[in-house]
Structures are given as structure tokens and as C-alpha cells.
Symmetry: C3
Subunit: 273 residues, 3 copies
Amino acid sequence: MRIVTLTTDFGCADYASGLLVGVIWSIAPEAEIVVLSHDIPRHDVIAGALMLERSLPYFPKDSVHVMVIDPGVGTQRRAIAARLGDQYFVGPDNGLISLSVKRQAGENQPAEVVHLDRPEYWLPDVSYIFHGRDIFSPVAAHLARGVALDSLGSPYADPVLLEVPSPALRKDSISGQVMHVDHFGNLSTNIRGDLIPNSKKSSISAGGLTIAGISKTFADGSQGDVVALIDSSGYLAICEVNGSAAQRLGLRVGAEVEVSWHTDQSTNEGKPA
Amino acid sequence: MRIVTLTTDFGCADYASGLLVGVIWSIAPEAEIVVLSHDIPRHDVIAGALMLERSLPYFPKDSVHVMVIDPGVGTQRRAIAARLGDQYFVGPDNGLISLSVKRQAGENQPAEVVHLDRPEYWLPDVSYIFHGRDIFSPVAAHLARGVALDSLGSPYADPVLLEVPSPALRKDSISGQVMHVDHFGNLSTNIRGDLIPNSKKSSISAGGLTIAGISKTFADGSQGDVVALIDSSGYLAICEVNGSAAQRLGLRVGAEVEVSWHTDQSTNEGKPA
Amino acid sequence: MRIVTLTTDFGCADYASGLLVGVIWSIAPEAEIVVLSHDIPRHDVIAGALMLERSLPYFPKDSVHVMVIDPGVGTQRRAIAARLGDQYFVGPDNGLISLSVKRQAGENQPAEVVHLDRPEYWLPDVSYIFHGRDIFSPVAAHLARGVALDSLGSPYADPVLLEVPSPALRKDSISGQVMHVDHFGNLSTNIRGDLIPNSKKSSISAGGLTIAGISKTFADGSQGDVVALIDSSGYLAICEVNGSAAQRLGLRVGAEVEVSWHTDQSTNEGKPA
């Protein structure tokens, strides 16, 4: 079985998403297709990049991930496919693979990218404004059928990689950013939990609020408390128990978050604000 | 084929739902997965319980229903799996199975419940805040692969069963509650249609309005009429023709609904309000 | 493989949509099921008709399309199934097939329609208000299993066909209407691109705005520009670059759009308003 996942900013109400499925099954009837989301904020490439990076660890080998968040469709932007570890990406060359490529590089498994320049793997008629249907879906279907990545296009050494904010590490603090706000208003940051030396003795500051210590779970707080957690992707997150931290603190993607701690316990009497 | 259904309160925009699918297919590639809803109101266990009970009659034998409506994740609340007739439930022990267990008991087929205490059937790393991905999905996948329920955990005699309001039956009336408001604003109650002895001679009162008689279908009224029906699950429902009864009457889940009738026809000249 | 697609106006939050899946898989376990949309505007038969017509070219042979946009459920309106080219429709007889039948006729492949009057292909108990679950889903499942169309009902010569607005062609202009507003606010019309003789020399008027020429893609304009395009279904569309033309121009389905051109180039100095 080869899985094909779909992630778009089309919304759920439109028939566009169904066409991707029709095209894929016309070419690869044995593919299993699953929608990750059709509700990525419009043209939000970073949100798509984050979804791809956080999804890859949970999907089986040879899964093919199609992402149609494509503000540049019909322009000179390229169409690409990429091998990311043991799985595949198909979509526009606009930075959607940025976080995944970075993670791959960190694990010494550089991504392999091809420029989709072989029309024999596309639909016969390619519109100027719907490459999701006309190029990405057919290419994903061919991958799912077992066509080799390097048959689908020419090697491509310079895919667009967005500058994604990294946390700044100092002796006794880390500054990072909110990267994602989920359906519940939880704020997930770019600060990996394993960068924080002592979770009990840390203070977390965001939106004018200081939180003492990192909780294991929501249940460590009471209804309405704002707590800091290591979220299910391994990153520091700020959450309101049974509420929306995003709304409570007025924060969104890009907001600053600081974690600080005292290495010398004897002088640990104040809290950084 | 084993079907796995997913019901959550994650919303459609989040990648969390896709991870459940990735995990299930990593373990049980042959599973067929279908989303019932990702839009259950946040933490609304009763809404989930209702969905489960009303879905069971329409799914094939051996279907596995995963429900992640889990405000207590990471607390002492248990994780469970249950056999409900010829199908299975996997999720938190917070009452999601209440209505189904009650129905099973009524049919003399008591549910069989296990406490999920065997980590060998989970993902290797279990987060404190996403048991949907780390425990429920892998357990559901093992069920779908044919692992026996009693291999997945220890017998568990006292699952949480919520007090769900039951209608009060009197000699010539029934009082019940609105249990569900659907997408169209139709109000479905906990009054089974077969409890009402004479649908033509009944009066239905809700939100200050009295409706004479129970219609077969919307077409018995005109645009804007409020009618009472037996809905497609067999329960009394109050609906506005081509409109929203919830909005029209200002009613929501929990609102009182009364059905009354006259056993003595000769004195049937007024309508109860 | 037989594909079954589902299109409804149920919304994503309701369990009704899942029941269709349960019923189909109970009868045809080998069916592949995909949701086109559960967010068709309530009772909007024209929107459903458009989705059907624009989807058919992209789905494989023998796909079965179930549409439950059914304001007349429980009335005298008939239930039908139809062969449209090499694919099938199942749903209420209220005009959902109008555009597809018209296209088929244009290609000299008249649709074949049957009146669903054989209860042996339905669920045993048929509610008055949910034929999607009780009639359309089981019939679709039987089609997916290979039951012949003419076994499912009696030949039916006069299905409801809605009067769908057609563009008015004149010597040097075409008047048409907005047929669909997508998630991004793009306005798709009923004017096929191939009816416009010279896309560079044409002027497009809508909502008080005149656009000079038809662009190939969004990138021909700058952020905020309103451009005219031939959309991915081959129809003239009006779009705001990175914005919503629907909101910008205050237009919705039914709004007038005019395309005009000058056959004599020498006098082409003004723009029609």
C-alpha cells in the first residue's frame, strides 16, 4: 500500500479537493488517500511546512504527501517532488519542505529533490491556475504506483528554503517564537523541550505573563490557569486549561516566548518578568 | 475488512487528525479509515456518546470506533476499549460509551470493557497530552488487525457511565429533553417515537410553542412552519421547515420538551400549552 | 475498484455523513469512499449540479456519485439513479443532474435515468426524512457491487431538469452570469473560454468594474488587482490577486458578467463600460 495525503488551503466547501482524489485514483486505483487538512490558512506556506514536518514521523514508509498551498501557481515558480527520509513530498517549490529538509540534514539524510519537468507524468491539459489537479496529483499517483522519483524530473539542487525563525540560546535563557496556534488556542513554539535544562526551575514569559515551571499535563492546573507544557510534538507550548491561550494572551504566530532559569540555586529568589 | 472510524473535537484545520490516520495505517495497513466528525464541540462528551450510539446500528460487524474527546488526557482518567455488540470502542474512560452501554444492557448484551494497561500495544513514546495518537490509535489498529479485546488490557467492571437524562413517562404525557441540535437547527430529543401512543392526537410543547400532532415529514408543513417529526434515529424532533428550529425557538441541548395527549377523545377540545 | 463519492449539505459536524459510509460499507465492503463536500450551501441544488458536472471529467469509469441535497425528502419527489457517460449518479430527482445531462446530450450520449422503485435494494426500514441513508447509500453500494442500473428501478424519461442560465451570444459580446463563488472569493461564470474570440482584445465588465483583457494567471496582476482568467474548468472567472473578488465587487451567484470586443481594430480606442 502507498498512502497519499492531501493538504490544501481550499476549504472544505469546494469541489476542488475532490478532483485531486479523482485524478489520483484514475492513475493509481490502489492508492489509499487521506486528507490531512483543507483548512490551512490561505497561502500560509509556513503552516504547511510545519504540518509536513510534524506529520512525517507518524506515516508509513513510502507515503506520498501532496501539498497545494500555492500562491505562485502559473508563475515561474517550479513544481517539485522530494524524498524526505523514507517518504515523499509533491507540490510547489515555495518552501513547504523547509522544516523537513532542515530536520533531514540534521540527521545526515539530505533530501533528494527533483524539478517536475516531464509532462508525460501530468494530465494532458495543464491549466495555468490548478497545478494541484493537473501536475501534483498525477505525479503523486505515479509515485504511489512505484515510479522512481528521478524518473519524474531532473535533479534540482536549490529548492526554495524559507528562513524559519530558530530559538536563540543563551547561558540561562532561550528566546523563541510561537509557530502554530491549534484549534483549541494552544500556542506551540519553536523551542524544543530538550533544550530546557530544568523544567521545574524554569520561568516562561509570553504576552506579559510569567509562568513558573513546566507542567506535565493540563491537569496540573485548574480551569482557566495558563500553563506551559511540552506538547505532543516535543515543543514548548503555552495553554489555558479548558480555554484558549491565544485569546487570553492576545498572541499569534510569531509572538515572542522566553524561557529562563537560574543556574545558581542559592540566589534563586526572584522571577524574571 | 475492518473499519476504523474517527470522531474528535480537533477541528478540520489541524494536523492532529491526520496523525491518527498515519499511526493506524503504520500498524494496520489494510484498515479502512473514515472520519465521522472532527467538529464535535470541544470536550462535549455527551455529544460524542450520542454519535456513538446512533452510529453503531449502521456500521458493519467488527468496526472499531475511536473517539478522542478527552478533556482529562494526562490525568488519572483511564484509557479503555470496549465491545459494544459486534463492534468496538477505543477512547478515554469518561462516559463516551454511556448511551451505547445502556442500549446494550437493554438488549441483554452487556458491554465488555478493558482497561488499556498493556503498553506493548501503544506507541513507544507516550506524550502526556495526546493519547489519541499514542494510545487509542495504535490500540484501534491492533483491534483492526485482529488482536483480541482481552489481550489489550485487563477486565474493567466500572467504566464511567454518565447520568444521561431519561424522559419522564406519565399517564397522558412525556417530558423529555433536547439531546442534539443538528447542522440545520433541528432539535432531536430523548423521547423515542414508539413511546407516543397516538401521534395524530398529541400536542408537543417546547420553547413556548405548542405543535398539534406529529408530521411524517417536512412536506406536511409550509416554509417557516415548526413541525414535530420522528427523526431518522427514531426520536421525536422539532424542526422548522426550511429553517432552524433552534434559532426560531431559542432552544439548545437540555431544553425541555413535553408531549401530551388525551386518552378520552370526547373531551379533547383544548390544547395543553 | 468502484469509487463512491459523497456530496451533501450536512455540514462537517454532524454524524449523518458517517452513517452514509457505514451503510455503503455494510453492503459493499470493497468500495472506496471519498467525500467531495459536506458543505454545499443548504438546499442549493444548482451548486450541487455544478459540482457534479465539473467533477465527472476527473473520476474513473464506473465511479458512483451520491448527492444528498434534498429539500423535498419525504414528499412526492422521486429518487433516481442515472448513467452519465461512464459514471453514475444517485440522489433525489430535483435537478442535480441538470448540467451533466445537458453536457451528455451535447456529446450525443444521452443520460439513462431510472426511478428507484425497487425496495429490495434499500435498507429494510426507510425513514421519511433521511433517504440519503436509507435509499441513496444502499443503491449506490449495490451499483458499486456491480448491480446493473436497470435492475435498480424502472426507466424514467422525464427527470427534473432545471433551467440553468446560459450565456447570451451576440456579434461582439457575450452576457453571462456568475455560477460559483469558491473558497477564495473567485467568481466563476457560465461563459466558456472558447466562446471568446480574442482574449487580449476583450473587455470584461462586472460589478461596475471593467477589466481589459484576459490574463493567463494571477501572476499577470499585482496584489489587489482584479483580473479575468479562464479558470481550471474552462470558464471565464473574475479573481482578485491574493484577495476576494466576491467581496471586492460585492457580487454573488447570479450576478451579470459581460465580455465585449471590437472586431474592427482601427476603431478600438474606448472601452465599453
